[in-house]
Subunit: 338 residues, 2 copies
């Protein structure tokens, strides 16, 4: 069977079956935002990797080399943030095409190093190879206290579903860039698409508060990433449409695009915000902690329910729709060109 | 300037200038076989990455998916071995082409996981993306006691230059495979090319002995990798041609190819043996330790000299030739097609 018939998540399932058991030091193996390994009694190591492929994740006509490097850092920083960790060390592995200008590579590495440094991490090693396609791969390592690590599993019925920042701006920006939408609202969204800000400080503040039960970052899309939490925690969820935090620029750009802003917020992806699940009584303390530590808003958008109650989106009229998992998959029918 | 005009090592130099300083936990940054980071007072973390690109590092007509996976593990295991470390955790990042069969990916991962497990490591995470070219990237993490880590720097004049196993077999195998050379000698060399065995146990035994001053694994080629040690240690070297360990199958295959076996041993590359530099009086104890721990032969092939004395290859007649750095560079004039 060809991989695109199977789809990304089914392929990952098949791959995981080939791996066999990890060694005893592996606290969290494949299937969460980062792997977690015990390196000493008081510290765990977090490790994640993500790649940007030209023509698929970026077009050089639309983004500068420095922005590409920053973005490569950010998508990985976001995964460390999702576990509540402190980013520390990165390894960059690049497949470079013949004819590529050295200034491109230098600017890309400069952006990468600057964005990592902003969050306390540095490039410690890497690898270069030639290729027919530009592939920029980064592995990022982080540290955490063992008791502070947050996973996808851990949500329980009655918990609040909280989200940092706002949703849908990156997707609106991606579409505005492709469609040539002008104006300051579109520009603001395009900046969110090209230069996402990973919620590293917020993630560490949430983890340090010990108030959260589960966490994930939004890369595939809010609905799909909440689905990953529901899968791992074996729970359901009820999301209130009117509570989704959507910025004015996102609404204006969605309107200019003829798109529904709420759909972009639910399924657009690449927001790199955090979905945080916490006890309903912890909401106010978390909002306060996050405002102080990271100046990031935290909005309650719904409630965790029992698995049997399903996953629903409730609108203002009180009617409910299935919270479809409509986010991004790399292989298979849902793949979009970008 | 285009990257192929600059060459791999000059490009790496330019990249390193973009990185800025690492944080204080970085013991060894970019430029050695692995990065080394302090994670607790008694332990350091080793981290390396290396990629295999279809059409450049392998041809699917010549190697099975399982062998590709094993090879991906081995080239990274060899870098951890070069520092004397224990391999522990790996992250696999694959760019997969549409139309690729899932069975290929499964077999590749199975080979990767098996080879890692053989040396005490396991896959803890990874990433999949689509691409127009098959790129298989692995990051491997290892552990060591801080006092046991061996680097490229540390060789001093008077030291013995020692090498594990034998040289040139992988290069002979690569050429035999391309040239369709038949027979058991060629087959033995082809197996060394397709399925190199990383010297993990030997590397750890050498490190634990505390007798060595510097170490590197041979990927670019003996002469070039010894040159990396000379560069980092600011020393020269004198290699005795007749002492180079070259197996009978390698000599026979080189003859069938019309190639000089010593040239393959010096510059062929991909041997994944270790060059170990140690005090001249330590040679016998190291040979003994390695024979017991890893059943791997260790051969003295030369002597470290002062930097001003240069880098020379001495033949049996007593005449000396420059120990040219003729190994593999990914970009630039020395690039070979394979």
């Amino acid at each position: 069977m060809q991989i695109q018939e199977l789809g990304e998540f089914a392929l990952i399932e098949r791959i995981l079956r080939q791996l066999g058991p990890g060694n005893s030091s592996v606290v969290v193996g494949p299937g969460d935002d980062t792997a977690v390994m015990q390196v000493s009694p008081g510290a765990v190591l977090l490790a994640t990797c993500d790649a940007l492929v030209e023509g698929r994740h970026f077009l050089r006509a639309q983004i500068t080399a420095e922005q590409i490097g920053r973005r490569l850092a950010s998508v990985n920083l976001s995964d460390i943030a999702a576990m509540g960790g402190q980013p520390r060390w990165a390894l960059a592995s690049f497949a470079l095409t013949d004819g590529l200008d050295t200034s491109f590579v230098e600017a890309c590495v400069r952006g990468l190093a600057e964005q990592l440094r902003e969050f306390g991490a540095s490039v410690v090693g890497g690898n270069l190879t030639g290729g027919t396609e530009l592939v920029l791969d980064l592995t990022l390592l982080g540290e955490s206290a063992p008791e502070c690590v947050l996973r996808r599993a851990g949500a329980i019925p009655g918990d609040a579903i909280l989200v940092t920042g706002d949703l849908g701006a990156a997707a609106a920006g991606r579409m505005a860039l492709a469609g040539g939408i002008p104006g300051p609202d579109a520009q603001a969204c395009i900046a969110r698409h090209l230069s996402p800000v990973p919620r590293v400080t917020a993630g560490m503040a949430i983890a340090a508060s010990r108030l959260a039960h589960a966490m994930i970052d939004i890369s595939d899309g809010f609905a799909q990433d909440l689905g990953h939490i529901c899968d791992a925690s074996r729970v359901g969820g009820l999301v209130e449409l009117d509570r989704l935090p959507i910025g004015a620029a996102t609404r204006a750009t969605a309107a200019a695009l003829g798109e529904d802003a709420a759909t972009l917020a639910l399924a657009g992806g690449e927001d790199y915000e955090l979905i945080c699940i916490a006890g309903a009584d912890a909401e106010a303390r978390l909002v306060d902690a996050l405002g102080r530590a990271a100046s990031v808003p935290l909005t309650r958008v719904g409630t965790i329910v029992a698995a049997g109650e399903g996953r629903w989106l409730k609108d203002s009229s009180g009617s409910s729709l299935p919270l479809e998992q409509t986010g991004w998959q790399h292989f298979g029918p849902l793949r979009r060109s970008r």
